[in-house]
Structures are given as C-alpha cells and as structure tokens.
Symmetry: C2
Subunit: 396 residues, 2 copies
C-alpha cells in the first residue's frame, strides 16, 4: 500500500474535513458572490443578497431536519461551551416565567443532566457554576447518571433502570439535557432518552449534527457547533421550540447575546452574525441535499464507514475499542493499541501516508478517527488497509 | 463620468470591504494552506499549522499597535454586543476582587460611560440591565455625558467641562468606557478622554480599529469586532491589560466563554475559536504592514480620504454633515440631503455607478460613506465626482 498522491486524509475531530465540492464552490465565488462583484464576507448582513443566503440556509435546514413551523433556527456564536450557559439561562428563565405566573417563585427548579463524556460533563459543571446566582427560585442540578462517577470511566450509556430522572409530577423540571455524541470519548446515544413528554428535552448534537435523521418534535432545543459536520468553526446552530422563548428580562439576568428570544426576534441579526460561516453552512446543506441524498443517504454512508472500522477493531488482537458496542459513535471511532509507544508508531506511520489528525484528544490519549459526513468511504478504506498492514507487522 | 467596468465600490459600514489582495491570497490557498493539503478551515485549532497562524497574527497585531508585554490579545466571539456584557462582568469582577481583599464587599462600585452615539448607548444599557444582578457590592452606572439626553441628538463630543466623571478618590470606579468611533452617527473622539490614571479606561474601537496609531498603555481594555477594518464578521479582538484578569469564580457569575482570564489562560482556545476569521485577520494585518506602511501609513491615507469628503460637504449647498467638525469620523462619513426623496435619488444614482451600501443606518437615515482602511482613495474620488455631478443637477 502506498499513497503517492498528494491526497490528504483528514481524520480531525473538528474543525474537520469539509466536502471538496463545497470548498471549490466557495473558492470560485470567493471574490464575487451571485454577481454582486463582492465577496460574501463584504456584504452587509442586512443586504438583500445576504438575506437570501440566510433564508435559503434556514429553509434547507428546515427541509433536511423536517423542522416544524413552531421552531426557530438561530445562528449564534461561541460554540457549544457558550450554549452550556445559554441553555441553562434561557430554559431556567422559561420555567421561572411559568412559576412566577403561578405564584411559585420560591419553589425549587431542577435541571437534569446525563453525564456520558467530557462535553456533557462540562455542560453540567457550567450549570452548577451558574445555578447559585439565580434569583428567586433555588436551582438544583441533578445528574441523571454520571457514567464516570459510577463506573470509573466514560465508555457506555447505561440502561434506563440506572437513570435518576427527576419526576416532573413532584418537582419543577426545567429541562433534561444530554450530549448525543461525545466527541472525545466516542460514545453516542443509540436512542433518544425517554423522558416525560411535559419536560423539555435538550440535545447537544455538535459532533453528529445531520449525520442521520432525528425527530425534532421530541426536543425543546437541539443545537450544535458547525465545525464538525456543517462548516467552519464560528457559528452555532440552535433549533429551539418557540414556547421556550421568554423575554430577556424574565428569569436569570443574562447577556443579551445569549438570549434565545432576542436572537429569534431579530432573525439572528441583533448584531452582525458570522456571515461567512453561515454561508459555508448553507453550501454544506446544499451538498447534503444534492449530492448525498439528504439525511437518509448520509446515514447509510456513515453507518457503512463506521461498521467497517468497528468490525476490524473487534476482529483485531491489536486494536481495542474502549466503548461498549451498543453506544459506539458513528462519527468518532476511538481505539487503543496495547502501549503508548505503539500508538505513537501508528500515528507516525499514518502521517507518512497523509492520514492526519488521528491522535486522540489530549485528555484521553489513544487514536481517534473522526469520520464525519464529509469523509469519503474511500478514505476510511485506506485507513483500514493501513490498520491491517500495521497489525501484521505488530501482531502481539 | 461613467463606470463601465465591473468594479464595485463598497461603502458598506460592516461587514465591509476587504483588501482585494487579501481576498486573492485567501482564495488562492483556500484548499491548501501552507502545503498541508487542507483548507485552513479544516485544520484543528490545536494543530501546529494553525498554531503558527494564530501566533503570527498575535505577533503582528502586537507589532502594529505596539502592545506592551503585560497585555493579552484575545480572540473572542459574539461581536461588540457580547463585549458590552463581558466588559462589565469582568471589570466589575476585578474591582470586587480588590474590594473583597480590603473587606469592602458592601461598598458601592461605579462604572462610568460616555454616551456619544448608538453603540455606547447600547453598551450603557447592557450595563444597566446586568447591574442589579451583581451580588455583594451594589453597582451604580453613571453617564459621564449623554449627548442625546443633553442636546436632543448625537453629533458631538462635548468638552471636558461638561463631563461628569466619577471621582476615584471618593468612589470605587471599576472603569470608564467610551466608543472611539460611533459607526452609525459618524462621531469619532478627536482625543483620548483624560481620566484619572488609576481608573481603567476601556475603548470600543470596532469601527476604527487600526485606522491610526493609538497609545495602548492608556487603556485597560481596547476591543473591536473584526468586520470593519480587520476581516470578516465572527471574531472580536480584545486587548486587555493582564491586571484586569481575575478568576472566573470571583465577582459577578458569568458564562465561562465571556470570561477574560479563561480566554487568556487558554490562548483563546478554551474551545474552538473561529479559525478562518482569525486567519483572515492575520492576512489583513500582513497587508497593513507590507502594503500600507503600518498604522502611520494608513492614518495618512485615511485622513486624506476623509478630508476630501468633508471639504466637499462643507463647500456644498446640497450636502450637510450632522456632525460637529471637530469630531467627525474618519471612517464613517455621514451626510444628509435636503429631502428624503433627494437622498433616495442620490442612492439610486450611486447604485447605477456600482457604488453600493451608501444608505445610512436604518435608525438615522441619510447617507453614510464608510471609508475603512481597505477603501482605496480612487474609490473615494469616484464618489466625490458623483457627488459633484449630482449637486450640479440638483443645486437648491
């Protein structure tokens, strides 16, 4: 096996590979978008040409995800980490709004978190940090399950029998939060956690956004940063059910730019949005629709790529998955070799074949092959060839 | 006069014109940055190639602005509007940190705002909205001057005799805030407001960033969104003196992503920064250094462009500047015609000559020619030709 071409295989976890046809289109019209004689970056966000781009992007997202009309699509900034705060502040505000109207502004509000990896762990920690500052209702942050606390490490999604969901008939539950795909630990929910239908469900889908169909009506909020499956870093897409939107002056005092209703009321243009990033998301959505057969098409492709890799890992004596089979990520395939030295050798050999960004996150080590929507199956096949060859040389 | 070429003259206030050579360089390397075989958008923010881009961008900014070593350069998201909250939260935290150590956690803290246009007005309003939620020290938001309240409209910078600066020997002043250039009203400070040297001075320079040399040591914080003079929308540059950085758990509870110390400690990579926007800023800085003679060179060019326009306006019987001569913006030249109908006709005629985005902000009307760094003097000359010709046809 050899890679004599300059073709680079980008297994980065994000910012990640962008479809080549998307990059080429953006390159072609980089200095002149739609005959304006200007770069898309030079257009006022309030101009007609940019307005058309924004609208088309929203329309295509709504079409792809089958988003009902009582939802708003927001383009925000600051990544998922900013949303950790925004989700808490906005959804607690919503619950406070309800309770104030009932004269229950002193009663406890609970927020429920599934902690299944590094990102949901950061999300719950942000809620815990912000909770004591909330005025009137006291806030309790509840971990429905904390896999690391319970099992010593992340790597599984325990069954419902182990969940400690707060009972909404006995408590005021503002929301239940989970991270659908844990990018660092390679753990993906194989199902939508079943919660009481009166409780708003929130999902961070940053690293598996648009990788497969989801049923939006199950959610109060679905959100994700763009830099894995949707485009460049710098824009976060928030799909929020309109009944979650409350006036910025109700509930926890929050920066205007983190307020969902302000963003919704201003069509994501309370101030200048990240126009170029939104444009790139738009191109990526068109690619998904026109070249990949939408979410059903891309799901099939993603399943096929992931299946091949996990089959190899499970048959191997060298590679080992640290994740339980039922909840292995289709986007971030993490695996270990017997020693760190072998892992270094594996990575060095991969680099020589132009397979880049395969190193596991610095907090966990090991190998991580991120195989997002834009990753062609051919590139996964090349990685598999290399893995087989490497194992032959190093069989334990 | 005629414009038969396809050359477009972009007088937009932001997102605004980007130097053509910057766009062309970015276009050329759009699919392969520095021989990586990847787009800059596809690089991990923690990769060596992106690290080099980030470092060079910081180095060039430090060089251009002569930023002392006890300052941090932060790349944040959410535009100036997010900074309206961040400035307040971080600098109040700093003052609280001082006062707690002195056992003065119950004493009042004052924040001073110059209100000289729409943006500083929004900034002070955000401070007023956030202030009541601050725990321990009560916060008073003081308007040093509110030009609209005092004179019925924005359009001047009153002399120091009219300022109501809080006396830092009698009060705990967290900071003094001003907006150096008011994009909408076309008002620019012709000087740095003189404040007691013990009081942190904060300037929003979003729309005149790097348009002329400034003396950074006068400031505790200088910040601006990139989308006028520095690149595309989606990144905000914050230059902050390190003694302003306090632990995120001290002072007002604030979202982690709005915390200056978190950003500084993590080299703007607590989470994924807007890598492409940072790269574009980097290219723009190189252009400033290599093609425009740095800040002294660009200042000269900017002065020349603005002087021509204001001379024409002052000599004209048709055009009228609503801004006092001593504080007219070098970046956003606003003017009025006798009637709104004539303004419409002026704009329509300009469009025909490919002079775009000349319409004044929807909140004030009129005409606004934004002539940022990237605007060539030739384009300003063309606008002037058109203005002269238009006046001939419509002399009152």
């Amino acid at each position: 096996m050899s890679n004599t071409s300059n073709h680079v295989l980008n297994f980065g976890a994000g910012p990640a590979k962008i479809p080549e046809s998307v990059l080429k289109k953006a390159q072609k019209e980089f200095l002149d978008i739609n005959g304006t004689g200007m770069s898309v970056m030079e257009l006022s966000h309030r101009s007609k040409p940019f307005g058309a781009i924004l609208q088309k992007t929203k329309d295509n997202l709504a079409k792809l995800m089958d988003i009902p009309s009582d939802y708003s699509i927001l383009f925000m900034q600051g990544g998922a980490t900013t949303q950790f705060a925004a989700i808490f502040l906005n959804l607690v505000a919503k619950k406070q709004d309800e309770l104030i109207k009932l004269g229950k502004e002193k009663e406890e509000i609970v927020v429920d978190y599934f902690v299944t990896g590094a990102w949901s762990n950061k999300a719950v920690q942000e809620a815990e940090r912000l909770a004591p500052a909330v005025q009137s209702n006291p806030i309790r942050v509840n971990r429905v399950i904390d896999v690391k606390q319970k099992y010593g490490k992340f790597g599984t999604i325990p069954p419902p029998s182990e969940w400690n969901l707060t009972d909404p008939t006995k408590h005021h539950v503002a929301y239940v939060y989970y991270c659908d795909n844990e990018t660092i630990h390679g753990v993906e929910f194989p199902f939508v956690p079943k919660v009481n239908e009166t409780v708003p469900l929130v999902a961070d889908v940053s690293s598996n956004f648009l990788s497969r169909p989801i049923h939006v009506p199950k959610y109060a909020v679905v959100y994700g940063g763009a830099q894995k499956n949707l485009g460049p870093a710098g824009v976060t897409i928030v799909v929020v059910r309109n009944d979650m939107l409350v006036d910025v002056n109700v509930g926890p005092v929050r920066p205007l730019m983190l307020d969902f209703k302000t963003a919704a009321d201003n069509n994501s243009m309370y101030n200048t949005p990240p126009t170029f990033a939104i444009y790139m998301v738009g191109l990526t959505l068109e690619w998904l629709i026109e070249e990949k057969g939408g979410l059903k098409g891309i799901e099939q492709a993603n399943n096929s790529k992931a299946r091949k890799l996990y089959e190899l890992i499970d048959q191997s004596k060298l590679y080992k998955s640290p994740v339980d089979p039922h909840c292995r990520s289709h986007m971030n395939v993490v695996f270990r070799l017997p020693t760190e030295d072998l892992e270094k050798e594996f990575l060095a050999g991969a680099e020589k074949l132009h397979m880049h960004q395969l190193k596991g996150h610095r907090s966990v080590g090991g190998i991580r092959a991120s195989i997002y929507n834009a990753m062609p199956e051919d590139d996964v096949d090349r990685l598999i060839e290399y893995m087989i060859e490497f194992e032959k040389k190093h069989s334990p």
